[in-house]
């Protein structure tokens, strides 16, 4: 049985830090960096223990915190000089983040269209009357992008679906020739091209034949200069007709 684990979810490292600051009720301008860092790391450990993937953003913040902590521990080498409180490195983004959350909250508390307030809907009767194009267009860039993406993806898919059946591979054609020869022992050259409609199939068939001849799988005979060229399987002496008079003669 699996347990579903509920854990406070933080949007990111800043969210978690802010939570720790609230929890400890500390002043954001005087963050007890050691305490907060420890608690921060504790939280990451807890996430790891619960097998929750700890995002890189959280780790970066962890190292920032550790860095600040070490800086705070070191006796200030530049005493006397005005040096910024190392904690400002996190205080500044935190402050901005806090304000941001406040604004987001204010936005969400506003009356939202189609949540709190509603407008008059378009009148279907009136709009049906007006099929003609108006000079203004109601489209946005996102729709355009989606359309383009659809076209590009659709094309890739179509290429796969549409063109594969009409493409002839040398290998397939060679296998086809061999199987025909195995069946009948020998066939006429002309027969190979009977019923072929597509020029590309014609070419591929011829190339396949050349390949077979070249590798010695098929032997080509022409009993006389006028007679039809005949093909015979070299691998199958016993199959097909016997013709003792033929002379091997390779044609290109």
């Amino acid at each position: 049985m699996e347990y579903q684990v509920q854990l406070e979810i933080f949007e990111g490292p800043l969210d978690l830090l802010l939570h720790l600051i609230h929890k400890n009720e500390v002043d954001i301008f005087d963050i007890p960096i050691a305490t907060i860092t420890d608690q921060y790391l504790e939280y990451l450990e807890m996430m790891k223990a619960l097998n929750i993937n700890v995002a890189a953003d959280f780790l970066v913040m962890a190292s920032t915190l550790l860095h600040i902590k070490s800086k705070m521990l070191l006796p200030n080498a530049f005493e006397g000089e005005e040096e910024e409180d190392p904690r400002m490195e996190i205080t500044r983004p935190l402050l901005e983040y806090m304000h941001l959350k406040g604004v987001a909250q204010e936005l969400s508390e506003r009356e939202m269209l189609e949540r709190d307030v509603f407008t008059r809907p378009p009148d279907p009767f009136l709009y049906k009357e007006l099929k003609q194009d108006s000079p203004e267009l109601d489209v946005n860039i996102f729709q355009l992008m989606k359309a383009f993406k659809a076209v590009m993806e659709g094309r890739a898919l179509e290429t796969k679906l549409k063109f594969r059946p009409v493409k002839w591979s040398l290998k397939e054609k060679a296998a086809h020739i061999v199987s025909r020869l195995r069946e009948r022992g020998a066939i006429y050259f002309k027969e190979l091209f009977d019923g072929l409609e597509d020029i590309s199939e014609f070419v591929v068939t011829f190339l396949a034949l050349l390949e077979l001849v070249h590798t010695g799988v098929v032997k080509v005979f022409q009993p006389s200069p006028q007679s039809d060229i005949k093909l015979r399987a070299a691998f199958c002496e016993e199959c097909g007709e016997k013709d003792g008079t033929e002379t091997p003669q390779v044609h290109n």
Partner: protein, 208 residues
């Protein structure tokens, strides 16, 4: 929230509906009112608007009640509707997208990408001022070359053609994070007033 007067609840419903509403429907949505209450509230509303003599009134039409503007105002409304933004069809949008991204481009190339004839669409896009002929290609047949117009940039709120998102950026924005909380089905999204509302156990960095 204190209960609102029935008459005004009904008015709000009629206001935001694009079709006539029957008393029975209204009764169902509001609940805890009886048919005669709804009926009399509707009559009262109708009398209100009759008396106010405004540009619209509540009319009893087939199937129920509906707010309609008085016919005197039709000419103005028609004028307005004629300038109401129209939408582009999917085919037009796709063709436009191809031209935008692949320009300068000839018709044949567009048709290869879309797999269909685009003659009519090109004409309509040209009429809308979104595309234009930028020249002729120096190949047999001298086909016309198309490109987008300044109006195209205006319609899509682009500063220049360079601002068009690249295909990779499109993929980044249109597919990445599809499982993230940000794009969870809108119906289920809530605006948490407090953090407590978050309930699911998730990796902290959901969008990452």
């Amino acid at each position: 929230m204190e209960p609102r007067p029935l008459k005004f609840i009904i008015e709000a419903l009629l206001f935001s509906s694009d079709r006539p509403l029957s008393a029975r429907e209204i009764q169902e949505w509001i609940g805890q009112v009886n048919a005669s209450e709804v009926r009399s509230a509707l009559e009262e509303l109708r009398a209100d608007y009759q008396q106010m003599n405004r540009s619209f009134r509540l009319q009893e039409v087939a199937g129920g009640f509906q707010f309609r503007t008085r016919s005197d105002y039709a000419p103005y409304i028609l004028k307005m509707l004629k300038t109401t933004p129209s939408k582009l069809s999917r085919a037009a949008l796709e063709t436009l997208a191809i031209i935008a991204y692949k320009q300068p481009i000839v018709r044949q190339e567009i048709e290869q990408l879309r797999g269909v004839d685009v003659g009519g669409i090109l004409r309509s896009l040209m009429e809308k001022g979104l595309i234009r002929i930028v020249g002729r290609k120096n190949v047999p047949g001298k086909p016309l070359i198309y490109g987008t117009t300044k109006r195209f940039l205006e319609v899509f709120g682009l500063k220049d053609l360079d601002s068009l998102p690249r295909l990779k950026e499109i993929k980044d924005l249109t597919s990445k994070g599809a499982e993230g909380s940000s794009s969870a089905p809108s119906g289920h999204e809530t605006v948490p007033k407090e953090k407590d509302e978050k309930q699911e156990a998730q990796a902290p960095n959901q969008e990452g």
